[in-house]
Every structure is written in C-alpha cells, then in structure tokens.
C-alpha cells in the first residue's frame, strides 16, 4: 500500500467545528418521566404520548441487534440526553431572524441556505439539533396543497394525517432502534403531497447534530397520495466530537396508487479520528411502502460519514406493478464500519425492484452490503435485479456482501451480480504512465465507480456528492 494512496484517503474532516449556541438539554437518562417531559415540552396531544410510552415499554423488552458486521462498545442508554433544542427562538419567518451564529455554521458547511433556496428553488427545512429553525417556500408549496413542515408543527396542525400514517410503515415494535426512536423522537420533517400533485421543486432538509452527547432521534414521514410525486433530499453533516454519538432516525414513506417518491441522502457525519476514536453511530430505520398500484419508491444514498452505519432503506411492494429502487454509495475510511443495504419485499403481482450498491473501503475500514430480496407467494411475475460492487483502496480494509434471497413464487425472476475491484499500485501506475497525477486518477476511478448511482441523484445533489467524495479523497500528494 503506497503512502500516496494513504495520504489521499486520509483527508481530515473539514466540517469539524462546534457552534456555540446555548442548548436546552434535559438531564441524561431514559424513563417514563423523561418521555412525559419531552412530550410536555413539545405540547403534544395525549395520543402521541401514548404512542411514545407504548414504544418505550416495548423497547424495554428488546435487545440490541447483534447480527450486523460491526463492532462497538456497549452503549449506555442511560448516559444519553434525549432532548436538546437551541434556546434561540424557533420558527423564523425570514432568514434575517435566524441566529447569525447558525448562519455562519451553514456557511462553513458550504450550505448558503438563502442563496441555495433562491438559486436552486429548493425549500430547506433546517433541523438544527432537534427543533426546526426555519422553513422556507412553505407558502408556495401550500398553494398547491403540499404540506412541508417540521414534525412538531405537523402534530399540531395536521394531527389526523400524522395519526393516520405514523408508525404505519415502521411500527414501534419493528426493531430496537425504531422502538427507541418512537419513544423519544424530538422532531423531524413531515411532507404530504395531495392527490394528483407533482411537487414543483425538490424538497430538502439539512440535519446536523450539534450538542455533545445529545442523541438525535429524527422522525420523517412522507405521504404521496394517488398520482402525486415528490423528490426529497436529505443531507447530513456533524461537528467533530470525542465522545460517540448515537443517531437513531426513522423515516417512513407511503406511496398510494400511481404515486412516486424519490428520497435522496448525502450523509457526512463525523466518522471519528484516524485512530477510530469518536464519531457518530448511525442506526437508522428507513422504509417505504408502495401501498398503491403502480406506485414507485426510489432510495438513493451516498454514505460517507459516521463511525458506524447500520442502515437498510427498504421497500415493501404491496401494490400490484409497484416498483422499488435502491441506489447506494457507501465510502468507509480509517476505522469506519458500514453495514448497509436494503430490503425489497415483493408482495403484489408484477412488482419490480432494482438494487445497485457500490461500496468503497479505504484505510482499515469495513464495508458490508446486506440485502434481502423477498418474493411472497402472491407476487406473480415479480422481478429483481441486484448489483453489488466493492472497491478496495489499499490492503487493510474489508468488503463483504451478504445477499439474502427468499423466493416463494415460481414465476419470479431474481438476478444478483457482484464484483470486487481494487485501486492499487498497478491501476495508479497505469494512469501516471499516461501523465495523469495520482490525485486526478483516484478521483476519476472513484467517480467512474459510482457513476451508476450518481446519475440517480438530483443534479445539484450529484454535484455536491461528487465534491464530497473528492474532499474525502483529496490530500497531500507527493
């Protein structure tokens, strides 16, 4: 393993700073009183408190999943603070009212929100720690009947919708971390696209973990009614801390007849230092339900951060002819660990799914693809295509593929392809023997490797993601 490649992938985290804003943090630990406290602080209706308490009681009976191909010290759930909100006044009408310190933070991240919103026509629902700070373009979206707001607002302004769909795709009992999230989630995003409406712009949310040792428990719920469509962008980045931080989000998507939801993520949370100290534990449950006929849900993710990523954005293809897609790039470096993939559950007839997974491992990291394709007995004519490619940079990292196929219908077609390649001395020498600098070569090879996934990202997001990979891989060459 040449020193050159090492340098290339060992770029320090550029977003590692801590914004100094006073936070309103509840004491550490978890019990029913803490949950009642969170619910009371958020002024929630009784039914939501009940939802939380049910989840909490169920969570107490559960144990952490041990099957992922990742290692980490046992988490003390009583050491986590379950609520943290900036003390600055929430929900601003205009950008001028936003704390300048916050704006500077986004500036450093390269997310000039106002410019971005204006230039790209993107409505940005900013989550800073756990409370929404500002929501733009809301009126414009409201004109066509689209609701795009923080989860808390949705609870107060659209309780019936939230009540109808919350937990309908990821029930509170689904898994250990989903149960924990259901008990203690503080905020998140809510998006509702009514019947027949094509959302006129990409909807975007920036997540950022800020307060040390405050766990983040986002809740996102997106509903597309009959014939509706929406493209939703989620981008994440976090400041540098020494202590591990737990993130256990839940995202639920529901697509009714002929509806389409496209959900894109670029994730760049603090991954820990070069020795593997610190970094975010990203234990996320994301699932989409293609409830209606001809509906379509498409997940695209670019995972570059976090110490540990445990994440399987999935599709339940209930409606006949519905389509699920999963496009993923996961980059791990140093001591990062990723166990990520998808589940495609075919229930309806003629349902189709497509999985394209690209794992890039560098340093001493471990990158696992884990994917389930399940074809139910009624899923006549179901089809799946899976492609899992791994790229190794250097010889101390690992790439693993765990495909699970469960086919209970003879008329189904399931295809799986996998490959492993390596950026090594020979490949780089080939480029340099043609006059090309190593840094440029690595960037070209990586961009080529991820191309099949990046073409599914919205344009401006693809540009950002390309920059992000470049940033992760640039360094002091020669």
């Amino acid at each position: 393993m040449s020193a050159v490649i090492q340098n290339l992938v060992n770029q320090p985290y550029k977003h590692g700073f801590h914004t100094d804003i006073e936070s309103d943090v509840v004491p550490r630990g978890l019990n029913e009183d803490v949950i009642r406290g969170i619910s009371a602080k958020k002024n929630e209706p009784e039914w939501l408190l009940e939802f939380r308490l049910n989840a909490y009681r169920h969570w107490l009976t559960m144990t952490e999943p041990k099957w992922p191909n990742v290692k980490y010290p046992k988490i003390d759930f009583q050491e986590i603070s379950y609520y943290s909100a900036p003390k600055t006044k929430a929900t601003k009408k205009s950008m001028d009212e936003v704390d300048p310190e916050l704006l500077r933070t986004f500036e450093k991240l390269g997310v000039p929100m106002h410019e971005r919103a204006a230039l790209a026509g993107v409505a940005v629902d900013v989550i800073f720690d756990s409370v929404s700070v500002t929501t733009t373009y809301k009126e414009k979206l409201a004109e066509v009947g689209i609701i795009f707001c923080s989860f808390s607002e949705a609870v107060h302004n659209h309780p019936d919708l939230v009540k109808q769909y919350l937990g309908s795709v990821v029930p509170h009992s689904d898994n250990f971390y989903a149960a924990l999230n259901s008990a203690v989630f503080t905020d998140g995003s809510f998006c509702f696209i009514p019947k027949g409406v094509k959302c006129p712009m990409d909807l975007s949310t920036y997540f950022r973990i800020n307060t040390q040792e405050s766990g983040q428990f986002e809740r996102t719920l997106i509903v597309a009614e009959e014939g509706a469509s929406v493209s939703y962008l989620e981008g994440c980045t976090a400041p540098q801390f020494d202590t591990n931080q737990l993130h256990a989000a839940v995202v639920e998507l529901i697509a009714l007849d002929n509806a389409e939801i496209k959900y894109s993520t670029v994730q760049n949370w603090y991954a820990g230092d070069a020795e593997g100290k610190g970094g975010i534990y990203n234990f996320v449950t994301k699932r989409g339900l293609c409830k209606g006929v001809n509906s379509k849900i498409s997940w695209t993710q670019v995972e570059t951060g976090s110490a540990i990523t445990w994440k399987y954005p999935s599709c339940v293809l209930l409606g006949d002819n519905s389509v699920g897609e999963f496009y993923s790039v996961a980059l791990t470096n140093h001591h990062q660990q990723a166990d990520t993939g998808t589940k495609m559950v075919h229930v309806g007839k003629n349902t189709r799914s497509r999985i394209i997974s690209k794992g890039i491992s560098a340093g001493q990291s471990n990158n696992s693809y884990r994917g389930l394709v399940k074809i139910g007995t009624r899923a006549d004519g179901a089809r799946n295509y899976s492609q899992c490619d791994s790229m190794l940079i250097g010889d101390r990292c690992g790439a693993h593929t765990f495909p699970y196929l469960q086919v209970a219908n003879k008329s189904a077609t399931v295809e799986h392809e996998a490959s492993t390649s390596k950026i090594g001395e020979e490949q780089l020498f080939y480029f340099s023997s043609r006059g090309i600098e190593t840094e440029e070569a690595v960037s070209m090879i990586i961009n080529g490797f991820v191309r099949d996934v990046f073409i599914h990202l919205p344009m401006e997001f693809a540009v950002e993601a390309t920059k992000l990979l470049g940033l992760k891989l640039e360094g002091s060459v020669g």
């Binding site: 023997s433 043609r434 006059g435 961009n447 080529g448 099949d452």
Partner: protein, 261 residues
C-alpha cells in the same frame, strides 16, 4: 531504421534494480538513437518486463545503481507522470481494467495532460472526438469502444490496440512496448504492427520487449538484444531473432558464460 549521427534518445549504463529487495536487473547497458527500433528478447524471468517498467518509473521497483539518460537528462529523477510528459511511453503487457471510467474520458485526460505539459493546445470533447476517430481508423477500431469502460471486458486484441491508440495520442519520443504481441491473433497482430510502423518515424525510437520472433516479421528491428538474468548478454541485427527462434536461448547464455570465464 539506423540514421547516421542521429540524436541519442536513451542511454542506459549499468542499471540495477530490485523489487522487495530482490535484485532483478543486474547491470543493463543499452543505447538507443532516434529512428531506431530495438527488440529485447529473452526467456521468461530474464528481466525484460522489469526493465520496461523501471524505465517508465514503476514505484514497486527500486533502482539500486547505474544511470539512465533520456534525451540527455537524468530520467531516474523524474516521476512516472513526468516521464510520460517528457516523451516516454510504456505499452502495457496487461493493461488494467477500470470499470465506470469511459475510454474517451480517460484518453482525453491523458492527451490534454500531456499536451498542456508540452505547451501545446488542449482539445475540448468535441474537437477531441474528431481527433481520436482519425487515430482509431489507423487501428481499425470500432467507434463504439470510446464509450465503453477503460479496458473493462476488452478482448486481448482490443486492449493492445487501445495501448497503441494511446501511443498515437501521446506521440512519445521513446515507446517501450511490453509484449504487445501476446494474446493477439494473426489479424490483430498485423493491425497493431501496422499501427506501430505508421507511428514510427525518424525522430522517435521504439523498444520492443517480446518473447517471440513473429512480431519482428511485422516490425523490423535494427537491433536485437538478448536479456538473461538481468543483463543484456548479446546484441545483433534482425537475423539474431531468427536464430533465437530456431535454436532457443540456451546457446546464447552458454556463449556468454564461456566468454565471461
């Protein structure tokens, strides 16, 4: 062809090199002038390919002694990319496959990088497309291969043609072609050799590393060298290649050891 008073392109003296501390080259001497074609032959493991890679600057090999002058300057002080820009070209025996990187993007980047370094004009994608199609006709290549991934899934013949296409683009002063004939059927061999012949002129030189004489039926060498155990132990004209084909290599080694004794 040999030209009187031609400029010296390459001068190698006493070159020794090792990989993982194991000595492979044990004192190579070679002098190459503009316009000449040199063939380096020898049995497997004699150091031919190592010599080619060392000249191109492969980082796995450590030069432990000797000098290499390229157009009068010290070649060993240059990085592989600097060597490429200065006019060294290595045609690989096993070109690497790079899925996802289109051949056209790679070729254009290589071309423009070298052009820029030589103070010449870069080409935009459209101009480059016209330019490369001309060069591809020379090697009877199908245009659709521009959009395929670099060397990925290429047949042996396609890979070697792609190497010579790169030689055509980069216009080297010294082209070192490592086993360019291996894996080629007779038609592909003819096409590749024809391409090399057309690219070769009075101002550049070619070093062919080859195992077999058959390539030399198509590309006529001015000198044939036999490499054995990391040294050039015999040099002759093209008739030596035929003799090696008929008699093998053993007699050369024997002759060499007798002479040494």
């Amino acid at each position: 062809m040999k030209i009187d008073n031609a400029a010296e392109v390459l001068d190698v003296r006493g070159l020794t090199a090792a990989i993982d501390k194991i000595g492979i080259l044990r004192g190579v001497d070679l002098n190459v002038r503009a316009g000449e074609v040199h063939a380096i032959m020898g049995p497997n493991g004699s150091g031919k390919s190592t010599f080619a890679k060392v000249l191109a600057g492969h980082p796995a090999y450590e030069v432990t002694g000797g000098t290499v002058r390229f157009e009068g300057g010290n070649l060993l002080g240059l990085s592989p990319e600097e060597r490429a820009r200065a006019g060294i070209f290595l045609g690989f025996q096993y070109p690497v496959e790079v899925p996802g990187v289109t051949n056209s993007a790679f070729l254009r980047l290589a071309y423009n990088t070298v052009q820029l370094a030589r103070g010449k004009e870069e080409l935009d994608p459209l101009e480059f497309d016209d330019f490369i199609r001309d060069k591809m006709r020379l090697l009877e290549m199908n245009p659709d291969f521009l959009e395929r991934s670099l060397n990925a899934g290429f047949s042996g013949g396609e890979k070697k043609r792609n190497e010579i296409l790169q030689m055509a683009l980069l216009e080297p002063r010294l082209a070192i072609l490592d086993e360019t004939d291996s894996g080629l059927d007779i038609d592909a061999l003819r096409i590749v050799a024809n391409g090399v012949n057309q690219l070769h002129g009075d101002n550049d030189a070619i070093v062919l590393v080859t195992h077999y004489q058959r390539l030399l039926n198509y590309i006529e060498p001015d000198f044939v060298h036999v490499m054995e155990n990391g040294r050039i132990i015999k040099t002759g004209d093209k008739s030596l290649a035929q003799e090696l084909e008929d008699r093998g290599y053993d007699w050369v080694a024997q002759e060499y050891s007798e002479r040494a004794a």
